[in-house]
Symmetry: C2
Subunit: 303 residues, 2 copies
DNA sequence: GTCTGCCATAAGAAATACTTGCATCTATGG
DNA sequence: CCATAGATGCAAGTATTTCTTATGGCAGAC
């Protein structure tokens, strides 16, 4: 049974005549006549009795009308819900971000989104990029704010989240930041003495980048501490227990008074971006979040 | 929003991929792809995210799916109800009949209908033809069993319920019956003495027919009693208070032992039929009732 | 009586939907 | 590492459905 014909029948039943329904539907009377007849043929019995002054519903017509009203109501509701989502009067968007982003550019973006669209529910979970990407892939989150070191570019697996090879995920660039050498405030270490230092590593991928850069510089770092919490790391550094490399976002999120940042090209830059499932950029709430993230990133990564 | 596309979307959502939905719907994958895309264009946002191993619903898709399920459920319910009506497992039919028919052929017909189709509710109201026809016209009843005298044929008004001019109502012939002279059992009245008798008239139309027939015979009947109840009339006749003309159905419904029926061509025959609104003969319950009425009439009017 | 409003029918036109064929992409298995 | 299977997208032509136009019949109102 064609639901469009059911709705046409509803117009006929409510308007009281085929002609009136045709006017209501902005079509012609024969069109209504034909479709109604087709519906009656499907039903196997008349739905209306045609009189000279309009129509009367048969019992079948009366019963069909109640269902038709239900269908029309649900269709209308569906339209309203979709319109609400499209206009950002409703909806939900779930974000996963790595800690230092979650502490800096993400709050700005989420606040801006919440201000502009109070009806949209925003959720945020903190996680390191690999888990974050998994969450997005599995549909547990809509957007992940992740970073990528030049090292892990394009290995084909996609799990490393390089901008140009994010697998089935799409990459939205947010900016890039220098990874800088961080030492104790009163330290006098020179560039040539780095290989003799004790190092503090961050998250596994950060540790990998640190080691790779040291290799490039020609030494193997001695890593004695490991924490992905930049506050912990800075406290260790401030107490002279080791040195480390930290990206700018981490330093902007928290700057321990007892540390010093040394300009050093040794650790290069890392790229920060948002990833989402392909196609999700057209979901209004997701798109809105991505835009806010980009906007916040412009100031967060301003040099 | 095209409800057919909503149902197509439902198939996609439930089957998990466009291809699977296409198989389910016995169509091709591009057809599904195109329709889904059109729906998404209308919605203004993606409803599914297309992956290599099938699709995932977006939030919009999830919300639309619940409404689509509702719509499908109501559509299915509508189909079930209509099928029930078509197969006479459900439904209702309302009959109006004049008294002597209501006492003879109608009970047979209603009982047969109830036996064959227990799910169909039958209702019956007794009324004289003019009211009965009004009830059918107004939709208060589906079928009326009425009679028609040759007198009131084709006056164009349609209100007189002649077989060939029932106005907007359709006439189904059930039979015809002689209108016979009824006198007291021991009466010895001869054909030439009729004009000197006291007459008992029935319903208004019957009275009209009686008077017209007497005029044809060349006299004006002296009518002293009037009742549309054939039991009352027969009792009056039996007690010698007057004579009357009664149709066969009335005599078959009740035969007072104190009366005698005289063969007399004076009052001719009257036609009995069922009337219904045009088109209603295709309503299953109505059609079934009409058929049972015709069947019962065949025996009721057998000479 | 004529007029008006309503519905049915038929045939051609228009819009819509579908099919076919090919290209691409991603997991999966050898 | 390559081949395969299964998924989607795209494009063009074909079919089908649907709508429009034109006409006629019928019943009720004036």
């Amino acid at each position: 049974m064609d639901p469009r014909r059911v709705l046409l029948f509803r117009s006929v039943a409510r308007s009281g005549s085929l002609s009136a329904a045709a006017r209501e539907l902005a079509t012609t009377q024969p069109a209504v006549s034909q479709q109604l007849r087709a519906l009656e043929r499907e039903a196997g019995m008349p739905l209306v009795l045609r009189g000279a002054r309009g129509i009367t519903l048969t019992e079948a017509g009366q019963r069909l009308l109640t269902q038709a009203d239900n269908i029309a109501a649900h269709l209308h509701m569906a339209g309203e819900e979709l319109a609400g989502l499209a206009q950002l009067r409703a909806g939900r968007v779930r974000l996963v971000a790595f800690p230092s982003a979650a502490a800096t550019l993400v709050p700005d973006a989420l606040a801006a989104l919440a201000d502009d669209h109070p009806g949209v529910a925003v959720e945020m979970v903190e996680a390191e990029p690999p888990e974050a990407a998994v969450a997005v892939r599995q549909g547990a989150a809509d957007v992940a704010v992740v970073f990528s070191y030049p090292d892990d570019a394009a290995d084909g697996s996609g799990s490393m989240l390089a901008p140009d090879d994010a697998g089935d995920l799409a990459w939205v660039p947010l900016g890039d930041e220098a990874v800088q050498l961080v030492v104790a405030r009163e330290s006098t270490i020179g560039p040539s003495e780095l290989h003799r230092q004790t190092w503090i590593a961050g998250c596994p991928r950060c540790r990998g980048h640190l080691v790779a850069c040291c290799h490039t510089a020609g030494f193997e770092p001695r890593i004695s501490f490991e924490s992905d919490d930049y506050v912990v790391v800075q406290n260790l550094v401030a107490r002279g227990l080791g040195i480390t490399a930290l990206p700018q976002l981490a330093l902007r999120a928290f700057g321990h008074p007892g540390i010093a940042v040394r300009e050093s090209g040794l650790f290069g830059r890392r790229t920060v971006g948002a990833v989402h499932r392909a196609g999700a950029e057209h979901v209004p709430a997701t798109r809105a979040l991505l835009e806010r993230l980009q906007r916040s990133a412009r100031t967060a990564f301003a040099r």
